[in-house]
Amino acid sequence: MLALVIITGLSFDFTNGFHDTANAMATSIATRALSPRIAVVLSAALNLVGAFLSLSVAATIAGGLVETGLVTLTVVFAGLAGAIVWNLITWLFGIPSSSSHALIGGVIGSMLSAAGSHAVKWQGLVSKVIIPAALSPFVAALVATVGTFLIYRIARSMRAAGRSHGFRIGQVGSASLVSLAHGTNDAQKTMGIITLALIANGTLGAGATTPLWVIVLCAVTIAAGTYAGGWRVIRTLGKGLVEIEPPQGLAAESSSAAVILVSTHFGYSLSTTQVATGSILGCGVGRKGAAGVRWNVAGRMATAWLSTLPAAGIMGAISYFIANGVGGTGGIVVDLIILIAFSSGIYWRSRASTVNAGNVNAEWRGTVAPPRRAEVQA
């Protein structure tokens, strides 16, 4: 049973990786600072490194959000299942929703339905998750706006071609930092959850820190997910929101990296997705007014952000009811079968409009689905 929970945890980690490749690499791919393939390899490698750098966020997830004494394996499993379902739905629509909120929402949803509201540490939830979530996109947008403004101010006398060349090189560095930062924040979340499962199972004592083998497994899995590349989300972030020039890309990425790393430092499990989106919006605002920002795309994203915690919570609660209704390991197996069937369904749906390394930068025509080849040639 523990093994099933850990495997589900790693599956979530994998969806987290491919959902979030976009955060670090969307802007570099959009400005052609990096080719799509090289971008995902670089991002995967740095996520791997980043995952080893810090454990602050894992500690928050494992001990700061729910009463560890009341957690059972079924609760953890149902939370993970809910998070995976929500991650896949948003991926299908190419919406850069927060994997972190999906995870936290899922776990809290299943916890609530299992043990009631006293099992949730509301104060930890608000101070370590909700408030950072609400503020971080604005902080990131502010930093990126200031950065973009300064860069264009400083570099305005330069010719466009030379400027683009220089900032493309800079983008390789800044995008790498975002990937590193992503590893320090997002890989930690699954580590925290698996630690929670180990505590629930009695393998670890309450308040224990994350064992090394969990760190290694999570780091490798998130890197693999990153390598798989969530092209649909990359497309929305890189092409849908703002048309980006290299100096803006540099500003956006620097802002994301700085905000994520500082927050990791404080143990805030913020959403790297929302930070990256805030930064990209900011770099659009910082350059000659807000004309370049597609606010309708931004609005759709904001809706997805607000709905992620409750939606994943509901999914988590539902999968808890199913698993608990059937009972024991059998309940988890039933849930797992439903989950696999659902995932296959989503994958099959996505085949209707494949987004991959080849067409990720195709012209934006209002949806994540790229124009068909015949239309491009016409």
């Binding site: 750098l53 810090s54 454990l55 602050s56 104060q123 608000v126 101070s127 408030i131 503020l135 902080v139 990131a140 502010l142 930093v143 990126a144 200031v146 950065g147 300064l150 860069i151 400083i154 570099a155 006398s157 330069m158 010719r159 071609a161 030379g162 400027r163 683009s164 060349h165 220089g166 900032f167 090189i169 800079g170 560095g173 800044s174 930092l177 590193l180 320090t184 100096p247 540099l250 500003a251 620097s254 802002s255 994301s256 990296a257 700085a258 905000v259 790393l261 500082v262 927050s263 990791t264 430092h265 404080f266 805030y268």
Partner: protein
Amino acid sequence: MSDWINLRAVWEIVVVGLLAGAGLPAIFAIGIRALGTPGKAHVTPAEDELVGGSRAGIALAVVCFAIVAAGIGYGIYIVVASGHK
């Protein structure tokens, strides 16, 4: 109230975020611009040439890039040093 929101941390994130997230790229921009400053030789550089040829410009660029690299290195050091308590 202070149990629910850590205002000091929020401020630190904003200030450090601005210094590192906007300040460092601005210094990088100064470096790129300095690097591209044309030198005395009357050669028209290629359209996307990075190095303009001015010695003072190159020197300033090196200083700028060094500051950026040092800032990044210091930031990562802080996170790593505090992240394994």
